[in-house]
């Protein structure tokens, strides 16, 4: 197992290198000029061409592409993500400040989604064909169909404004109250996905022979469900969680925008609009890295769930 983990971690390296190359190429194709966006405050009918040129020099934008690329990678290896073109902040500091926000948001969303989804799916499976099944599945479909920002706005309106139970938006130094609505909004669609997969996975397992054996052995229904059916149904569910979590990270952008949370997602949006290339690179790399780590964790998790899967 340890060897497996180390091998996977080593495999990160070519992945990250490939990602930096892709990011670099794509970003250099973006129209617009970071120096222009920052310095073009024209007044008196004069475009600030001097200022723009100066910034281009300062940021090394006039150097050829490969020089810029290796400068970027060299910086990464030293742990230096560069400085923002927009605000002159040191990016590693900025990321350190913003990453916990997104991690908390994503983490609580995944937790809610997994707990909610598993519960809904479980109930739907064991009460298959009844009204409970119908209600659960309709909820699941609704969850997958509605856009997150709409869910977010509805929650904001009903829970925060009309009922006054929670704050409408903002982050307030990580106070958990401010993260409940955003996490619900973000996790809502994954509750649906997880519920559906849980239900079908459980029904699949329930029809297996060993389940019938267990029941005829005299084990209680509860034990059979919990120990045999549910546990064995978890592997495909875990796969879905892993894959979809990538999308969840990406969708933090929308929720952070709606609820005004100062996370990596918002940083990405603002950087794109401001052509802040270093910040974009940093934000994308962080998200890719998080996705890789999460999937590694899930792969390791398989090993615990299913003894047949050994590396």
């Amino acid at each position: 197992m340890l060897v497996f983990i180390i091998r996977r971690l080593l495999a990160f390296i070519p992945t990250i290198i490939a990602v930096t190359l892709i990011i670099f190429v794509v970003l250099s194709l973006l129209p617009g000029d970071a120096a222009f966006v920052r310095a073009a405050g024209f007044k008196r009918g004069v475009a600030n061409t001097e200022g723009i040129e100066q910034l281009r020099e300062e940021w090394g934008l006039n150097d050829p592409a490969y020089v810029r690329y290796f400068r970027f990678v060299g910086g990464l290896l030293r742990g230096d993500l560069g400085t923002s073109y927009r605000t002159d902040e040191v990016l590693s500091e900025l990321i350190k400040e913003r990453l916990p926000v997104t991690l908390k948001l994503a983490g609580i969303s995944i937790l809610l989604a997994v707990v909610g989804g598993l519960t809904l799916g479980y109930l739907a499976a064991i009460h298959r064909g009844t009204i409970i099944d119908l209600v659960c599945m309709v909820t699941a479909i609704v969850g997958v169909s509605v856009p997150e920002f709409w869910v977010g706005l509805m929650l904001m309106l009903v829970v925060a404004v009309n009922w006054g139970l929670l704050p409408t938006s903002g982050y307030s130094a990580g106070n958990i109250l401010f993260l409940i609505l955003p996490s619900l909004a973000l996790g809502f669609r994954y509750i649906g996905l997880i519920a559906r997969v849980t239900r079908s996975s459980m029904l699949d397992v329930a029809s297996q022979d060993y389940v019938r054996t267990a029941l005829s052995k005299g084990l209680s229904l509860c034990r059979v469900r919990g120990k045999h059916i549910f546990r064995n149904a978890l592997v495909p569910i875990l796969t879905i969680v892993g894959l979809e979590s990538g999308w969840l990270f990406a969708n933090t952008v929308v929720i952070e925008e709606v609820f005004g949370l100062p996370g990596i997602g918002r940083l990405l949006v603002v950087s794109i609009l401001g052509r802040d290339i270093p910040a974009m690179q940093a934000a994308i790399l962080v998200m890719v890295f998080a996705f890789l780590i999460l999937n590694l964790a899930i792969d390791v998790g398989y090993g615990f769930l299913d003894p047949r899967i050994r590396y």
Binding site: P31, G32, D33, F36, V37, R38, A39, A40, G41, F42, K43, R44, G45, V46, A47, N48, E50, G51, Q54, L55, E58, T83, R86, T87, D88, E89, E97, R98, V101, L153, M156, L157, A160, V161, G164, P167, T168, S169, G170, Y171, A173, E257, V258, F259, G260, L261, P262, R266, V270, L273, G274, R275
Partner: protein, 533 residues
């Protein structure tokens, strides 16, 4: 006591109590927190060095923390700030500023003339990347300083601790107003050197009424500077929160979490009659327009441009699409009404028949096709603003193609003339003299996006810039307006008004036509009804 006298006492007591409460709501009181929203972009820095006039969000917060020699007033003029008074020489080139005594920075030290020279040279220093370098571009010795030929700017002279003399290369009637910009803020050298240029933006020290307490993520918290030269501000705390768009802002306002937000024509009807919404409506200085590339195709012909101007019904557009919030440009000239230049111009009105006539005369009886680039998200000055006008163009046979383009690209295309027409909102200059530079041919590639060139107008603008007499100058501007309106280099659609909504417990907000965001927050106070009083 008897029942009737008890009643009298109760009634008198209630009257007294309501009188006290009433007084509490009329007299400015110290204390409290004002939570403001910022939209749409973020504040990028609190260092005057890196502020740009086109970024009003950053500028408006800088103006709370910093002060320059002068500051802008609601009447579009300047008033003393760090400079108590000033004289201008006969020929208009020498400005002598007398600094007020006893004004201090937020680190305790008094502001003296040397600080001004330091700050202005810092802005102009070629190695420090100042953005708004045009502010002192006209000062004697500025070019030599920026070329590295001189160690300092000869035209900025410290006469003594409280007297600063600035000499310009030539008369510049806009200089004093430009000194009110956020980029001309005065900063103490020791505070800058202590953290370095890169960090000063996050650790600012200025002479303004509020100091930075914390800056976390999207929330900037300022607290009152007790020793501000104008007296302590009423507010204890001033918070700027960035809220991405209206639904979040409206929800936060309704939940009483923020004290003010920017309404827009789309949501204004919902708030118009809401008793919790205190309205502050200001005609700003922006003209929303469809700008022609005067060097392209059919737009080279004045008659075509005029035809399109007659083709649309601005009143209906403003009334129906924008809920009558902005000011329709029917019959207007080029200047937003806020400038008060009544040139007696009669502009364009809705007349499709006249439009068709002019088109036929110009040789386009069957119309033509043109494209419009613009920001796809801006409801009042982007692509969505042009959509309702398409049927009007179709009615005269002109087919308009919308090309949603991200704003940064629109800007770049406009500067290089790589477009047929664009939609945008221009303005933001506090003086008509600067606004009118948009029509000067020397400003292609800068503020003259229209690529409009008329030598007569150029000469008039050059003359107006040197005309000291206010009446004469206004007359010249009026003539410029008449000529340009006739030339129709653009279609002025409407003039912006902005509506700021504040909670009922907020007092002291002023109408600032330059930009409502440049509010003088030291004059704002909060009464007890606020949950953050």
């Amino acid at each position: 006591m008897t029942r009737s006298s008890l009643a009298v006492v109760l009634i008198l007591g209630m009257l007294a109590a309501s009188f006290v409460v009433g007084v509490g709501q009329d007299q400015p009181r110290y204390g409290g927190t004002f939570v403001n929203m910022i939209n749409p972009s973020e504040v990028i820095t609190l260092d005057p060095l890196r502020s740009s006039i086109t970024d009003a969000e950053t500028g408006s917060v800088i103006m709370q923390v910093h002060r320059g020699l002068v500051r802008w007033t609601p009447e579009l003029s300047v008033e003393p700030a760090l400079a108590e008074s000033w004289e201008i020489s006969e020929d208009g080139t020498v400005y002598t500023f007398h600094l007020r005594h006893g004004a201090s920075f937020q680190n305790g030290r008094e502001v003296i003339a040397q600080d001004c020279k330091y700050s202005f040279e810092r802005l102009m220093d070629p190695n420090r990347g100042g953005i708004s370098v045009y502010i002192f571009g006209n000062v004697v010795g500025a070019d030599e300083f920026r070329n590295g030929e001189a160690e300092s700017i000869a035209g900025i002279k410290v006469v003594d601790n409280y007297t600063l003399r600035i000499t310009l290369k030539g008369m510049d009637l806009t200089f004093l107003t430009t000194l009110g910009e956020p980029g001309a803020g005065v900063v103490p050298s020791e505070a800058v050197e202590a953290v370095g240029d890169g960090q000063f933006g996050r650790n600012p020290v200025g002479a303004g009424p509020f100091m930075l307490e914390s800056w976390r993520g999207d929330t900037i918290t300022l607290k009152a500077f007790e020793e501000y030269y104008g007296g302590r501000p009423y507010l204890d705390t001033l918070v700027f929160r960035r809220l991405s768009d209206y639904p979040a802002a409206g929800a936060a306002f309704q939940a009483r979490e923020i004290d003010a937000f920017l309404s827009n024509p789309t949501n204004y009807p919902r708030w118009q009659n809401d008793p919790n919404f205190q309205e502050l409506k200001v005609a700003e200085l922006w003209t929303r327009h469809l700008g022609f590339n005067n060097e392209w195709g059919p737009f080279q012909d004045k008659r075509v441009r005029q035809a399109l101007n007659y083709a649309i019904d601005r009143d209906a557009y403003v009334g129906v699409y924008l809920n009558n919030v902005p000011i329709s440009a029917t019959g207007a000239g080029i200047f937003p009404p806020g400038f008060n230049i009544s040139s007696g111009v009669s502009g364009y009105y809705y007349s499709p028949s006249k439009a068709k006539e002019l088109l036929a005369e110009a040789g386009y009886p069957d119309g033509f096709t043109f494209s419009v680039v613009g920001d796809p998200t801006a409801a009042t000055w982007g692509i969505p603003a042009i959509e309702p006008l398409l049927p009007y163009f179709e009615a005269i046979g002109v087919h308009c193609k919308l090309v949603p383009t991200e704003y940064g690209t629109v800007e770049m295309d406009a500067l290089t003339g790589n477009y047929e027409s664009y939609v945008d909102s221009h303005g933001g200059e506090p003086i008509a003299l600067q606004f009118v530079q948009r029509f000067h041919s020397k400003n292609f590639g800068a503020t003259n996006w229209l690529r409009y060139s008329n030598p007569v107008v150029d000469a008039l603008i050059d003359e107006a810039v040197l005309t000291v007499d206010d009446v004469e100058r206004t007359e010249l501007l009026g003539e410029i307006e008449r000529i340009v309106t006739d030339d129709a280099p653009w279609i002025a659609i409407n003039f912006s008004t902005v509506i700021f909504g504040t909670q009922v417990w907020i007092h002291g907000m002023q109408q600032m036509p330059i930009d409502l965001k440049y509010q003088q927050y030291e004059k704002v106070w909060v009464d007890e009804r606020s949950p953050r009083a």
